[in-house]
Every structure is written in C-alpha cells, then in structure tokens.
C-alpha cells in the first residue's frame, strides 16, 4: 500500500477558517487512485466542506469499508480519527461508535459494491435506525478495485467495458434511503462541485441519518459508451431539482431571487439551508411524492440530483434509545455507579422466589 505524505507548505494567501486552519489542514495523503477518478473530486469536496464549516478535524471520525471509495479517507482529513473496516460493514462500525460516543461527527464513505451488494443489509439498517452520520456512497456502478465487474447499481442494459450487457435490475440507493426513513437524502455528481459541496456541508450539520448518493464515474472501467455512469452520460442526463446554498445561522441572505423560487429550511441547530428550486413542483419534504417523482424520472432516463428529501427536525438513534447527552464512553465511575439500590435490583431480578 503506497502512502505519500503531502509536504505541508502553505501558500501564504490560502484562506483561513475560524479555527485558523487552511484547506491544507483538512487534506490527507496524496491519492493513489487513477488520474481523473471521480472519487478524488468527492474527497476534495469533503475537504472544502469541512474547512468551510470550521470543523475541528479531531472531532471527526471517518469510516469506510472496502473498495476504491473506501480507500479515499486516506486522502482527506489526515488529522481525523477513523476506522477502515471490512467490506460492507462500515455502517455497523459507525452505529456502534456513534452509540458509544455521540459527540463525534461521523462521516461514512462507501461505494456501490460496499453498500448496495455485500453491505446492503447494514446500509439499510443504519438508515432505518437513524444513525446520526453523513453517509456518502461514491457510486460508479462498477467494481474498480477488482477491475471492472458490474456492481448492483449498474443499470439494466448498460454494458461493461468489454461489451457484456448487464441483465440485472439496478438497486437505487436513493429510493431505498427514502423508503427506509433517512432524514436527509440527496443525489449529486462528482463533476458538479457547486452542487456537491453545499450538500455535504448540509449533511454534516444534519442531526440524523444523512445520505448522499454521489455518482462518481470510474475513468478506468466505466467511462465508455454504453455505460450509464460515465462522465458524458451523467452530464447529459443530470436533472437537478434544486440548488442548495448552505448558510450557517450567522450569514445573511443577500442575493435576490424570484418570489417562490427559494425555500429557506432552518435545521435543528439553527443552520439554514436555502433551496433554489429548479423544478417548480418538487417538494423536498414529502417522502411519498419524492419517491414517486424519482421513480417516474428514472423511468424517463433522467438522473435526478439535488436535495431530494430533508426533515429539519429529525429523530435519531440516541433519541430512540433514550440515552443521556454525555457520551457512553465518557461516563465515569461516579456517573455510572448505580449505587447499592440499582445493584440490588439487578440482583433481585435473579431471585425467583
């Protein structure tokens, strides 16, 4: 495994955030992915989002499974904590970590093999439980690490680089996320940073299960004619329903928009999402119509992108479990020691007479 540390030479005019950190402080090692890989653009978007949000890197836990996408955490947030786990189980590791320490910002990065095939069960259950995390699938419709097999998100009828036709139906992770109860669901494209960066920022601030399906063409194995995940295909068929501007509570809205074309969504923590509608009839707060719209446009051959669903006041796993605000791993003996009364009640449960 090659690991190339980047020299830490800062350009004097690099923008500094509220923590006094530059973008460079959010970078990782130099990528070993193929030149032009969509995943590197997503890494760059993550770096920019975290820098702009002034997140302390050490408060972030980046988690991944196996695959090209799961290698990328090495290439961003070098100063964050992390867990590079086994194939498909990132959501479970995230669930356990989040339950033990609710104070960290959890960023899961996965791929279509990791989340739609081997880890489909874990993907589904993390979203339905409401793990407070940002879950990004870098979706290229192909197994890159093992050199070109179809993945479960490959569209029926699309062809492999060698010309083999895929006969299986595609799994639509956005549709699943909507159905499973994720409280923030978006789709974006690695080639559209203007759309992607605000979505990642909004997802990171969303206090619930936030899912972003990010189309990320594989330049090596899935960028040919016949692929529905190539740069050209995605650009041609990309139909954004809205544009998101992420604004923290402090910022003012200065730009003018036509009346009715902008919706302001205030999230639980006071952060503000400003949605510019591109598709007038699309309502990102109606799960049912979002699913129907998605299905309809997919059948028409479009790739629907944007913030597809958001619940400003989501519930999450800790609320369901009724846990205290202090992370489990920080509860000390004094806080945990239940005293003789609680121990007596545990003992009493053993007494059957």
């Amino acid at each position: 495994m090659s690991f190339l540390p980047k020299p830490k030479l800062h350009h004097p005019e690099l923008a500094i955030n509220d923590l006094g950190l530059s973008r460079r402080d959010y970078e990782g090692a130099i990528s070993t992915l193929c030149a032009g890989c969509g995943h590197d653009s997503i890494s760059a978007a993550i770096i920019r989002a975290c820098h702009e949000l002034s997140l302390p890197p050490y408060r972030i836990a980046k988690l991944s499974g196996i695959g090209c996408s799961s290698k990328t955490p090495t290439y961003f947030l070098g100063a964050a904590h992390g867990f590079n786990s086994v194939h498909g189980r990132m959501p479970s590791v995230a669930t356990g970590a989040y339950l033990a320490n609710r104070d960290l910002i959890y960023l899961g990065v996965s791929g279509d093999g990791d989340s739609a095939s081997i880890g489909l069960g874990q993907f589904a259950h993390a979203l339905r439980r409401g793990v407070n995390m940002t879950y990004i699938v870098e979706n290229n419709g192909v197994y890159g690490l093992t050199k070109g097999q179809f993945s479960a998100t490959s569209d029926r009828g699309s062809t492999s680089k060698k010309g083999v036709v895929n006969t299986d139906s595609a799994i639509d992770l956005v549709g699943l996320a909507l159905q499973l109860g994720a409280t923030f669901v978006a789709r974006s494209f690695s080639g559209d940073k203007a759309q992607l960066v605000p979505l990642i920022k909004a997802a990171l601030q969303h206090p619930g299960a936030a899912f972003i399906d990010c189309l990320s063409p594989c330049v090596q194995f899935n960028n040919h004619h016949g692929s529905t995940k190539s740069f050209d295909y995605v650009r041609e068929h990309n139909e954004a329903v809205n544009r998101l501007d992420y604004i923290t509570g402090r910022d003012e809205i200065t730009a003018d928009y036509a009346p009715g074309s902008v919706e302001v969504v205030v999230q639980h923590d006071g952060s503000t999402l400003r949605l510019r509608k591109l598709e007038a009839e699309y309502d990102p707060h109606d799960r049912t119509s979002a699913l129907a719209y998605l299905q309809e446009r997919t059948m028409a051959g479009e790739i629907v992108t944007g913030l597809l669903y958001v619940e400003p006041e989501p519930e999450d796993l800790h609320r369901h479990a009724n846990t205290v605000a202090t992370p489990l791993n920080a509860l000390d003996d004094v806080a945990l020691c239940p005293g003789s009364a609680a121990l007596a009640s545990v003992n009493a449960a053993l007494r059957h007479t």
């Binding site: 904590h81 992390g82 590079n84 086994v86 479970s92 356990g96 489990l328 791993n329």
Partner: protein
C-alpha cells in the same frame, strides 16, 4: 466405586436412603409442553435453595416454539453439584406424550421410583425394562377434586414429600409466585399442595435427601447465561450488540434491562455481521463491548474477528455452543465449536479463547475474558454451551477473577507523535479514545505501520504480526488458566474443558474416595496455549484421560497440536446431545486402577 448399590433391590435402597438420607437425589419431571413440568422443576430448585441445599436443573426440550416435550432434570444435594448424576432416583410423569423423544435423557436404575398417572396411558416399555419401580398416582383426577387445582402442583407436592423437601416451603415459594393472581388461586394451590402431600404418604419410598449442611451460607439460583451476563456487567461492559439465537438469547434478554440500570446499552442488530461490527465500533469509540451468539453466528462473525485482531480492538464474543454443524440441534449442548473458535480466523490471528467450566464459572470466566480482552486489546471468544447456559444451579456465590488494569489509553503526553501501533516490549500499545486532539489515528484492517498507515511492506507485516503475538504470549495469566484438583504423586490425570468438567470433577472425586488417585485438570484458557503450565500440571502423570463432548475429538486434536502429553492417552469423546455422566468417565478410569 459407587455402583454397588445398583445390585440391591430397589425398595431396599430406597428404604435405606429414606432412613439415613442421601447426599444427592436426582429427579425428573416430564410432560408435554404446557403441562407445567418445567415450572414445577424451577419451583423445586428454589425450594431446595431456600432449604439450604445445592442443586442443578437442566432442561430437556425439543425445538418447538410452544408445546412439544419438556423435562425438568433436577439434582439436589447437600454439597455443590457440578454434573447430572448417572441416573434418576425419581421420575414424575405428568403424561407420557412424546416420551420417546427424550427417553435417552432419562436413565433409570433398579432403585428408581416412577410416578405415573394411570389415566395418561401405559407406562412405556423403556420404563418397565429399566427395572425401576412404578407407582400409580392419579394426578389429573386428584387435581380435579380441588377447585382450581393444577396437576403440576399435585406432582410438586408428591415429589417434595418423597425426596424430603419441606412442603411448607413449597407453599411459600408458590405463594410468592402466585401472589399477584389473587386469593382464590392461592387457596387452590394450597389445597392442591396439601392433597399432594397427603397422597404421597401412601406411595412407596423414594431416595430422600439427608439434612442440608448446618451452616448454609449464601445461595444463588442462577443460570449460566445469567451468570455470563452478570460477569460481563461486573467487568464493565457498556455496550452489547447481538442477534437472537438459541441457546444464547437469554444472555441478551437478561442484559438488556440490566445494562439500562447500570448505564449501558444493548442493540438488537440486523444480523451477526452487524452485531460484531457494531461491537468493534463501540469498542473503538472507547466502551468495553460484547456480543453473544451460538455456532452459526460465530461463523458469520469470523471475518470481523480478524478485523478486531488486526486493528487491535478489544471485544468479547460469547458462543453458547449447541449441536452442530449448521442449524444442528439448537436446544441441546455440544462442545463442537472449539475448532472454529481456535482455528476459524483467517490469517495469523492471535486471539483469546476461554471456556467456563461450570454455571458459576460463567461469571468468573466472562469477567476475566473482558478484562483480558481490554488489557490485551484483542478479541476474546468465550465458549459456553447450552448445558451451562440454559441450566440453573443453586450455588455458593462464585469468586471474582484477578483484577487487571484496564485498557492502556493514550495520554496527552503522546500528542503529535502518537503511534497507535507502537512496537513495545509487552506488545501492548496505548490506544487513543477518538475525539482526543493530537492522538488521531485510523484503525485499520489493512496491515499498517506503527503510526497506523497502511503498509504492504514485509518489515511492517513481520513487526506487527510479532507484536500482536507477543502481547498474548508474554502476558502472565496467573493461576486462573486452569482448575486443578489433586495432589503431587497422582499418576493418572483427567484433562477436560468447559461443561465436560462437571461430570469429570465428580468422577475424580468419586475415584479419589475409592482410593484411585486421579488429578483433574480443566483448561479455562484455551488460547493462547500454556505448554509450560500444563507440563507442570502434568508432572508425574503417566496416564491421561481426555474428556470432551465432540464427535471429532476436537479437544484431543487441539491438545496434540499445542501440548506434550503423557505416553498413555485415552480419549472419551462423544458428541452431544446426551450429557457425559460421571459413571462413564469412571468406567474408563477403572482399568487403570
């Protein structure tokens, strides 16, 4: 040997025991599911505990969700018991439905007494052929003469009277359990009890218990699965994720509310893959974590166990073993997951494998396993089984394992030059709690450098492999690695593990009482193997009997792979689901006398 009495006339034995009182009495209550046999057994066990006796109750049941066959297999005694006896002294049959399914689990002897309800069909041939005495007791008809009377209460009273348990105490236990059901129910049960006691006076005598020990001391009534849960709590487990599976489910059922009371959390995962990975995540985040499962679940977890080894994430997997492979016999016991627990991981993956050797020891061993896993930053597999997990025992409070320092945590002093996988003499490296500034790292299943950076270089691989092996090898496990009974000079030893230790322990004690000096060695720590310690424990031993409950001699093979054994080795290896009985072991020792 204690088999001489089998040659005497049954009634004669019963009369003798009825006068002097026996150190131990075994009884079985059987019936079709729902007849209340299991309930009656549990009440008798509680009564015995209250009266100052010790005891053991195993459950025999089929795989049915509701209904089917059920048998409460009890052994009550004046001293702690670790194993079922060779046969039952008393068998109370509420009915004979489905008897054939568990006839093999109910050995009888000439001295045994069988109570049958003449209205519930013929006594099966297997019973008649056993030579046991059979007495009729019309339990159902008798129950009907009492308004609200229940058949199992009549049986309970009759059994208690016959074996010498105080019936008023049965009334007390029943009253406490039925308290909430109202006066009418209480009156009915009191009347049925009185009737049962009255009719029992006219029955032939059965083996009776001698008086309980004068200084009774504290008694726990606990199942192995509960003891496992309690051991986990005592060890500081704060997070459990698990997927329900027989016969491990009670660990979770018991821990869920208990964890809530002590400040922890249990999640029912979507499958075993998720369960073990959630445990890895929670432990990575700084909370001691555990999961419980059975064989098929352990198989699903084995990939993630490799991850825990490589990433040095402490965790405990309790495997409550059942008959395998595959779905096998989910409700019955076997020691056949030893192979997968020891060898089931991919790569060179040093880890801990421990096994409790008694119901109370489930607490000790689980608590120790958590402490070791935390200290050594590695996964520990605890091999319990159905016979331990789902049996209940009356025991003296079990001891606590040696205290260990907890997880070695990184400190602020290490900030900015922190190496998660630092190569240390002990092999143990300080582990950072995520969220600390300056000690960030990425836990990784990929081979890595001391800093935690992925590496495919030979030198990194060799260094980290050696470090992970060293931390387990170099650690001082103290005396708890095995239970050893016997004295210097014993030339015969019995080497066993897990639930097979119960009958082995009894066989050794019986043998020693008869003058055959046999040493007992029961391994609690299976991995890492302790060759020097076992060599010392086997000093002077010329003959060795290995006792285990598997078809493939898994334990014997494990021993041969890891230990030097004496010249003469015999193996008693039999698969489940029938328990190994002390007499079987004795029979193998006798030729060596």
């Amino acid at each position: 040997m204690d088999i001489a009495h089998m040659n005497m006339d049954g009634t004669e034995i019963a009369r003798r025991d009825a006068r002097a009182g026996a150190e131990t009495v075994s009884l079985a209550i059987i019936g079709s599911g729902g007849a209340g046999a299991m309930r009656a057994g549990e009440i008798l066990l509680d009564v015995a505990a209250k009266a100052g006796f010790f005891g053991l109750m195993c459950r025999a049941m089929g795989p049915q969700i509701r209904g089917g066959e059920a048998a409460a297999l009890l052994r009550l005694a004046t001293a702690p018991v670790s194993s079922p006896d060779d046969h039952f002294d008393l068998l109370v049959a509420l009915d004979w439905e489905n008897f054939s399914r568990f006839a093999a689990e109910l050995p009888l002897a000439a001295g045994s007494l069988v109570l049958t309800d003449p209205d519930e069909g013929e006594v099966p041939a297997a019973i008649s052929e056993s030579g046991a005495r059979v007495a009729a007791l019309a339990m159902k008809k008798l129950a009907r003469t009492v308004p609200g009377g229940r058949v199992n209460v009549i049986a309970l009273a009759a059994a208690a009277t016959l074996i010498g348990l105080p019936v008023p105490l049965v009334g007390e236990v029943l009253a406490r359990q039925l308290g909430r059901k109202g006066d009418a129910v209480l009156a009915a049960s009191a009347a049925a009890l009185a009737l049962g006691e009255e009719v029992a006076a006219a029955l032939p005598p059965a083996r009776r218990l001698a008086p309980p020990p004068a200084a009774a001391g504290a008694r726990w009534v606990i199942s192995g699965n509960q003891a496992t849960g309690l051991g986990a709590l005592k060890a500081g487990i704060g997070f459990v994720a698990a997927y329900p599976i027989t016969p491990a489910t009670e660990v979770l059922e018991w821990m869920a509310p208990a964890l809530a009371k002590t400040g922890g959390l249990l999640v029912q995962a979507e499958d075993e893959l998720a369960a073990i990975n959630m445990v890895i995540g929670a432990s990575f985040a700084g909370t001691p974590s555990l999961t419980a499962t059975s064989g098929p679940g352990l198989a699903l977890m084995s990939e993630a166990l490799g991850l825990a080894v490589a990433s040095e994430t402490p965790l405990v997997v309790v495997d409550v073993m059942r008959g395998g492979p595959s779905t096998g016999i989910p409700t019955k016991s076997e020691q056949s997951d030893l192979d997968i627990a020891v060898h089931g991981l991919h790569g060179d993956a040093p880890h801990l494998v421990l096994a409790p050797n008694g119901i109370g020891d489930c607490l000790f061993t689980t608590q120790w396993a958590v402490a070791l896993a935390e200290r050594l930053q590695t996964p520990a597999i605890v091999l319990s089984d159905q016979a331990l997990g789902q049996s209940r025992a009356v025991i003296a409070p079990p001891p606590s394992p040696p205290a260990l320092p907890g997880r070695l945590l990184a400190t602020a002093a290490e900030a900015d030059h922190y190496q998660r996988y630092a190569v240390t003499a002990s092999g143990i490296s300080p582990m950072a709690v995520p969220g600390m500034a300056g000690t960030t790292y990425v836990a990784d299943g990929l081979e890595h450098t001391p800093r935690g950076i992925p590496s495919a270089q030979a030198s990194d691989h060799h260094t980290q492999l050696a470090k992970r092996a060293r931390k387990l090898e170099a650690f001082d496990y103290g005396a708890a690695w095995a239970d050893i009974e016997g004295e210097d000079g014993d030339e015969i030893a019995l080497l066993t593990w897990g639930s097979a230790t119960g009958p082995a322990r009894e066989a050794v004690r019986r043998a020693r009482r008869e003058g055959l000096m046999v040493r007992l060695i029961s391994l609690r720590l299976l991995l890492p193997a302790r060759p020097a310690a076992l060599a010392a424990a086997l000093a002077g031993v010329r003959r060795l009997l290995v006792v285990e409950q598997s078809h493939g001699r898994q334990f014997h093979k494990f021993l041969r792979a890891n230990y030097d054994l004496p010249a003469e080795v015999a193996v008693l290896s039999r698969p489940g689901p029938l328990p190994i009985r002390p007499a079987e072991i004795l029979a193998r020792l006798v030729p060596w006398e």
